[in-house]
Symmetry: C2
Subunit: 555 residues, 2 copies
């Protein structure tokens, strides 16, 4: 069986799932990681440990290159000492250019087959990737497994499927026969989906595979060679993925440099030099708004960004306030607020909120929320694992600063002991009350475990502020709680105009932070939090150009 036949069914199902948007997972995470094998976890951990302190030797790029080691575990607060090859930007562009002229001529079926095969290799290493993710991003084990493993692989498959469908959208050849009355004009036409050129994918420190693979696979399926420039702090997870892609490419007789890993250091960053190179036509970026906006402004490039945003929760009225605060507290605690979808601004009317048991005042709500956060944090079987660690030391400073904000401090941050890693860098959430008039405080992203309870005049003001923040500063998620259908539609309509998805009335084990592949578009692309969306049609069609060729039909 050739590789395309092997994976055709997976591809067809993925395309159908994109259209259907019901639950679908080629790489499920439920009911537990054990579905990938009873011993897979232990073996993955061993393999991860074997990589530490050595040169990463699996890449099929030039082996003689100098090595750099840039990662540190937020759990151990020690360097991982894994050496990655370091290349000049000239070398990367040169190899990418050669690879372009090979890869662009590989047809869509073969590209899809190679890329899905690479996901099968990734699947075999989900646990190794999970531990690599823990010890670079500081995520808890379960999130590290799910987000960097199955969920990332599903997002990659989604991008492959979306790109493949677009490549097949129009016929390769067509006989065009125009009746002119006494005669016909007859042409043979052909259309080629021409890839744009070298694609640069710039990763982030918190989700090194989940945020990288959509752009990576979207560019590859549409025929563009990719240079992946990971965040220096989180290289290993994506290095493992890239090693797999290179292996399949080489096995199938292609240049492994079709997908290159380009590691740099914080001292000598190379992202700008690569981005500005005229051969680089596509740029995917996850990270801060300043650099993202700079990239978006580069002429002659198609740039796909996920930047920062100010996410909101609008609290109007609820059935059961205890279930609501449980859900929201978990959203804030999860990975210590270091998800781009984590809520930050909680808009609560000064007169409190309606519940089925009567009115709950602003202060009562705040107390219950704080209690729920404490319940998670202080539970030794839950807190450390939900919180994970703080990836970047700068986040600790932001937490300290948050406790000096101009408002009532409802909860201060503490370190949270991790039973497995005594040296883990941890911090529980800070909760601060802010008056709605103090917009300068809450109109920026305070990345980390920082929740602002914003006291508004009423729900109309809450909605207006959430919309304004999204339009002016971006937003990737919005949680909303209301039992009133009219208010619900108002929130839906106003936040839609601010291109912000809304999760209504979530309680139980589903959180506003979570976006599911094949169903939820991640980032809409319509507000300043980013111009790209995983995976809408725009995300793939901008990566190639339809070019038509025609000639008189042979008669």
């Amino acid at each position: 069986m050739n590789l395309f036949d092997k994976h055709k069914d997976v591809l067809d199902k993925a395309i159908a799932a994109i259209h259907d948007r019901a639950f679908y997972a080629q790489y499920p995470e439920h009911p537990s990681p054990k579905i990938y094998g009873e011993t897979a976890d232990a073996e993955g951990r061993k393999r991860f440990q074997a990589l530490l302190g050595k040169d990463f030797s699996e890449l099929l790029q030039d082996d003689s290159a100098e090595r750099i080691a840039t990662e540190e575990s937020p759990y151990l607060q020690e360097p991982l000492n894994i050496g990655y090859p370091s290349f000049s930007t000239e070398t990367l562009i040169e190899k990418g250019t050669v690879a372009f002229h090979q890869w662009r001529k590989v047809n869509a079926d073969e590209r899809a087959a190679i890329l899905i095969e690479s996901l099968e290799l990734m699947r075999e290493r989900f646990f190794e990737i999970a531990y690599a993710t823990m010890h670079t991003t500081g995520q808890g084990y379960m999130m590290a497994f799910q987000a960097s493993g199955p969920h990332a692989a599903d997002r990659a498959l989604e991008a492959i499927a979306a790109g493949y469908e677009e490549l097949k959208r129009f016929p390769e050849n067509k006989f065009w026969d125009k009746p002119m009355g006494k005669f016909n004009i007859q042409l043979e036409k052909e259309w080629r989906a021409v890839p744009k050129g070298i694609s640069l994918v710039i990763g982030c420190s918190t989700f090194p595979t989940w945020n990288t693979v959509p752009g990576l696979y979207a560019s590859l399926i549409t025929g563009n060679p990719v240079i992946v420039k990971p965040h220096p702090g989180a290289v290993l997870p994506i290095a493992i993925v890239i090693a797999g892609i290179q292996k399949v490419l080489a096995d199938q007789g292609h240049d492994p440099n079709i997908c290159q890993l380009a590691v740099d250091s914080l001292d000598k960053p190379i992202a700008k030099v690569l981005a500005e190179n005229p051969e680089v036509k596509l740029i995917d970026f996850t990270g801060n708004s300043e650099f993202g906006s700079y990239l978006e402004s580069l002429p002659g490039k198609n740039v796909f960004t996920e930047k920062t945003g100010v996410n909101s929760a609008i609290i109007d009225s609820v059935e059961d306030v205890d279930k609501v605060v449980q859900n929201l507290a978990f959203s804030v605690a999860l990975y210590s607020g270091q998800m781009c979808t984590a809520p930050q601004n909680f808009y609560i009317p000064e007169n409190g909120i309606k519940t089925s048991d009567g009115n709950v005042s602003f202060d009562e709500f705040a107390e219950k929320f704080v209690e729920a956060v404490n319940g998670i944090v202080s539970n030794p079987k839950m807190g450390p694992f939900v919180l994970g660690t703080i990836q970047n030391k700068n986040t600790c400073q932001r937490i300290t600063d948050a406790e000096k904000l101009d408002g009532k401090i409802w909860l201060t941050s503490t370190e949270v002991e991790n039973p497995m890693f005594k040296t883990a860098r941890t911090a529980s959430p800070v909760v601060v009350e802010i008056d709605s008039s103090k917009k300068e405080i809450f109109s920026k992203e305070l990345f980390g475990p920082i929740a602002l309870l914003i006291k508004t005049k009423d729900t109309d003001e809450s909605i207006a502020l959430a919309k304004e923040m999204a339009l002016n500063h971006g937003a990737i998620s919005c949680g909303a709680y209301t039992t009133d259908p009219q208010i619900k539609e108002k929130i839906a309509d106003e936040m839609s105009l601010a291109a912000t998805p809304v999760s209504f009335n979530l309680t139980g084990p589903i959180y506003v932070n979570q976006n599911a592949g094949f169903s939820d578009f991640h980032v809409t692309g319509g507000n300043p939090s980013g111009n790209a969306s995983f995976t809408n049609p725009e995300y793939v069609v901008k990566r190639f150009t339809w070019v038509g060729l025609r000639e008189p039909a042979k008669v």
Copy 2:
């Protein structure tokens, strides 16, 4: 029958045609204009004449506005004296904003039905539009009829169909049911296609409907109100179309300001003010590269441009040289080279070209080409009607300048008498030989009836130059003649990389200038000649944002 049921079949067939890309026309031009009725032409001419010298009174915009008259007939060299209402940009934006909140809530079916109904009104006025086009653009009658009438209506329908398909691409609602082992997480999900905001469509002086309606209808189908700012020299053709759209909108109970006409004068242009208004989110533009590039650089907008380019013809080898020069001469003469698809740079090897009758030298080819041009121009039953007139006086200056270029003048321009319009502004083509080393001469668009015969070392140089021009200065078309399959593939591959469509070996009554709706993508969007393509998926998906909403399923 409601309006959607009335037009559903047309819509379905148009969507199928876009995918099929075989010949398709909802509004055919063949075998002759008479298919629209024996008396339609005469009646249309009368109706056109009745509009001259009066205020255009069909718009449903504010009737009390001041009037401006800006058009002049290149056939009569006299003003048309048709008065159009003139609005302040504030008024236009205000009305557009009100219209936005109405139109965005109209569903895709109703929008499609209204827009197709407006094309049916346009169809009834094809001849009136044809005469309006003749006397603003200076096109010959047949082109004015075809391009501004049936072809434009088909391009509009194509945009409607492409947009409609994208709006229906994902379900409005879906039950999402994720198995978690011992329980399921169940969500009701909803997706909304949220339009971007006010759309500004800036027209050109040469194809006032054909180049305007794709953006106009693409924005309208996706829920965006449109302000059409035509070129002051060519208002009437699109004013008639807009009057029809407004009539259908009003008949269906909607605000006619969903589609506004915004006429300005060359003295007091309003395009920049409108384009920079923050409520304007979408801009479509056809015109010069300088203004197009300025528009493309505006932050926070999605901009769709068709700018200028340097089109080429690569002559390598032919079967029958006489048929080839006939075809090329017609391409140059057609509307006096004032089509964005007209060839300008003819690359011919210094050693001549192979034909089935032996080698034809560079000079022999040039002689034959000049003879063919003269054959068209000097035929009184053909020349004046193929050439039409010169729309803009500046083009006459360019023709004069072309005769002073540094190269052998093979043919000078002359006036060509038009038997129906003694005062018509006409000019036959100039043909100049340029050495391939003099790149500064042929690396810019010389808009008008100017053909440069560029003497190259060989076909490889011809291809390299055509590609370089397209990559650096843009190209919308490329004609190529070769009998060698390897050279053919080389041209196809190299020009594809420069995102330029290629027409091979055209002879007879089909020309490189012609792009057919539902089959040929017009402009690829991949080189500096423009960033948009009629009508690829990117052209419509960038006009709205997918926003998801979700909540726990009621159990």
